[in-house]
């Protein structure tokens, strides 16, 4: 899940009687699963919420390139290097078409980037954790991309056409990312004792932050209820989290590594896994900017942007010279 805790601006859910005729017609289309397209009428709050959600998702793809890109130069084999480069390149591509999807709502990419750099816009908390060993690249693919898919597959059915179509494309590539991550984990777990310890250590560090990716319990959240009504959030945070745990525990068993949660056990009555309490204070601190890598990540993005300013200016200046020359020749 690359968008967390998205503010909808709603104080409470409104009943059909409280809506204007336009709003009622809009909601009826959403309820009938007819896609909303950029030129269609939409409530201002829907538009603003989607801009927040899609841009947050795009920023997550771009900032997410950093912790993994960090390992391209150190990948242990040429094949792993090629796969990792391709994966990080995919993420840049995801960012690009998500920015494009958001632009259909009337915001420019430059504005979205400026909001990221100023700290106004957020990105997923998960990318504020460090990649310390090669096993972290495996764990990110397996857990982080696994969690992202869990959220994004339902979003393929979301009400906004451009976002829905972007998600369909993104999901195809994400499932390849997840498999490559799990493949790294398999290799490590079947490798030397040091490699297996590396895999266990990565699971220990990434497990809880991965569960936090789904956001806080949302039973009481008015924003979640509003997003659900608009069908830009299909399943609740807790449902997605539970599904993710259900999918992931047998995979850890297969790898022969242990989840860092002594309370995690199958509950036959519920037909689900029970799990230990999540330390939500950690998530709130990371979202606020106090995670281990928040400052580094933002600094790296701002530096790339500032160092590239003269390149972008030169490209524009050259294009203007070309255009002027063409006009003169005509």
């Amino acid at each position: 899940m690359y968008a967390q805790m998205v503010d909808t601006g709603a104080k409470k859910l409104r009943s059909p009687e409280e809506m204007t005729p336009e709003e009622r017609a809009f909601q009826a289309r959403v309820d009938a699963d007819i896609k909303i397209e950029p030129k269609d009428w939409m409530p201002e709050a829907y538009r603003k919420t989607l801009i927040r959600q899609i841009s947050q998702h795009a920023h997550s793809e771009i900032v997410g390139m950093l912790p993994e890109g960090n390992w391209i130069t150190r990948a242990p084999t040429l094949q792993r290097k090629a796969i990792l480069m391709a994966k990080v390149q995919d993420e840049a591509g995801h960012g690009l078409y998500l920015y494009c999807a958001a632009e259909t709502l009337g915001v420019s990419r430059d504005q979205m980037v400026a909001d990221l750099h100023s700290g106004k816009a957020k990105y997923s908390s998960i990318f504020n954790y460090p990649t310390l060993t090669w096993a972290d690249i495996g764990a990110i693919g397996w857990l982080v991309d696994g969690a992202a898919i869990m959220n994004q597959i339902p979003l393929c059915r979301c009400s906004f056409g451009p976002y829905s179509r972007a998600m369909i494309r993104v999901c195809k590539e994400e499932s390849f990312h997840q498999r490559q991550g799990f493949d790294i984990m398999i290799k490590l777990c079947r490798g030397t004792p040091e490699q297996k310890a590396m895999a266990q250590d990565a699971l220990n560090r990434w497990w809880w932050p991965s569960l936090m990716m789904f956001g806080p319990p949302d039973a009481s959240s008015v924003h979640s209820a509003q997003s659900a009504q608009w069908k830009i959030k299909i399943l609740s945070n807790d449902e997605l989290r539970q599904r993710f745990i259900e999918q992931t525990v047998p995979q850890a068993d297969f790898l022969g590594i242990t989840m860092p949660d002594p309370d995690l056990k199958w509950n036959p009555e519920r037909g689900h896994y029970d799990f230990g309490a999540i330390d939500w204070s950690e998530l709130y601190e990371v979202v606020k900017g106090n995670g281990p890598c928040n400052r580094d990540r933002l600094r790296a993005r701002v530096e790339a942007w500032e160092n590239g300013a003269w390149v972008r200016e030169a490209a524009l200046a050259h294009a203007a010279k070309r255009a002027a020359a063409a006009e003169k020749a005509a």
């Binding site: 771009i62 390139m65 950093l66 890109g69 391209i72 130069t73 150190r74 990948a75 242990p76 084999t77 040429l78 094949q79 792993r80 290097k81 090629a82 480069m85 391709a86 990080v88 390149q89 840049a92 591509g93 960012g95 690009l96 920015y99 090669w134 790294i184 290799k187 490590l188 490798g191 030397t192 040091e194 490699q195 790296a300 530096e303 790339a304 160092n307 590239g308 300013a309 003269w310 390149v311 972008r312 200016e313 030169a314 490209a315 200046a317 050259h318 010279k321």
Partner: protein
């Protein structure tokens, strides 16, 4: 030196230049001046990495012919040789610097690379011809792109012109090596296996001049070409930049000997 030993050396030169440049381009990932450039630079890096793997695979097979059936794998060749055993051009190991430095390095290399691969596509060695033909399709695009950036930055703003000119000047001394031949080349040129790099100098210069002219840039004069004494990257004598680069690239393989990844 037997023909197979010369061929092995020659293949390493091809593989290593591709690998080392791909490694440098990999450093840019996530830090490019604009998102589209991040994607394009990574693409070029991926192409070169893929090409290096094809050359390494063939090199390993050739090595087995003169080494009692035992040839090294791509990973043994990439991760377990020290700097003095690398055969890449000095040009490609130069640091990324700013975007103009990266593009000047890429442009000098791409023009040469395309000419070289055109020659190798006609090699009497069928395997070389096959790999070169495949690579050529990718490299044509690389050359168009880097030339385009040299022109944009050269004929862009005052600042970009200054930076592009400095990059062209600074890297020029590493271009001579591309056209030198030594005993390894000579052993393979006569049989039509290798491409005679001396013959590439004139068309290379023609293309470089044309692009620099459009970019309002000029080549430096009075430069002594590094490696022209027969001791350059192709012979395993490198600049200081290769050491830290290999230390980073190879450390995991070396810290955990024999582990599989």
């Amino acid at each position: 030196m037997s023909d197979d030993r010369s061929l092995f050396e020659y293949l390493l030169r091809l593989a290593d230049s591709d690998l080392i440049l791909a490694q440098r381009l990999g450093e840019w990932v996530g830090h490019g001046p604009v998102l589209e450039e991040d994607i394009a630079t990574t693409n070029v890096g991926l192409d070169l990495l893929g090409q290096s793997r094809l050359w390494f695979a063939y090199a390993g097979e050739v090595e087995a012919r003169f080494n009692d059936g035992s040839g090294r794998s791509e990973d043994e060749l990439a991760f377990l040789r020290d700097a003095g055993e690398f055969r890449n051009l000095m040009l490609v190991e130069q640091p990324n610097g700013n975007y103009a430095d990266t593009m000047a390095r890429q442009f000098y290399f791409d023009v040469w690379h395309e000419l070289l691969l055109r020659g190798l596509a006609e090699s009497t060695d069928a395997r070389i011809a096959e790999i070169a033909s495949k690579a050529l399709k990718e490299v044509r695009y690389h050359g168009d792109r880097s030339a385009d950036w040299v022109i944009r930055l050269g004929d862009g703003t005052d600042e970009s012109h200054r930076k592009m000119q400095a990059a062209i000047d600074g890297l020029w001394m590493y271009t001579g090596e591309m056209f030198d031949v030594d005993a390894v080349d000579l052993a393979l040129i006569d049989g039509g296996i290798a491409c005679d790099a001396r013959a590439l100098a004139a068309p290379w210069r023609q293309r470089v001049d044309a692009v620099l002219d459009e970019a309002t840039l000029r080549l430096p004069t009075d430069v002594w070409m590094q490696g022209s004494n027969g001791r350059g990257g192709k012979q395993g004598v490198h600049t200081e930049h290769i050491g830290p680069m290999l230390a980073q690239m190879q450390w995991l393989q070396r810290a955990y000997p024999g582990a599989r990844w």
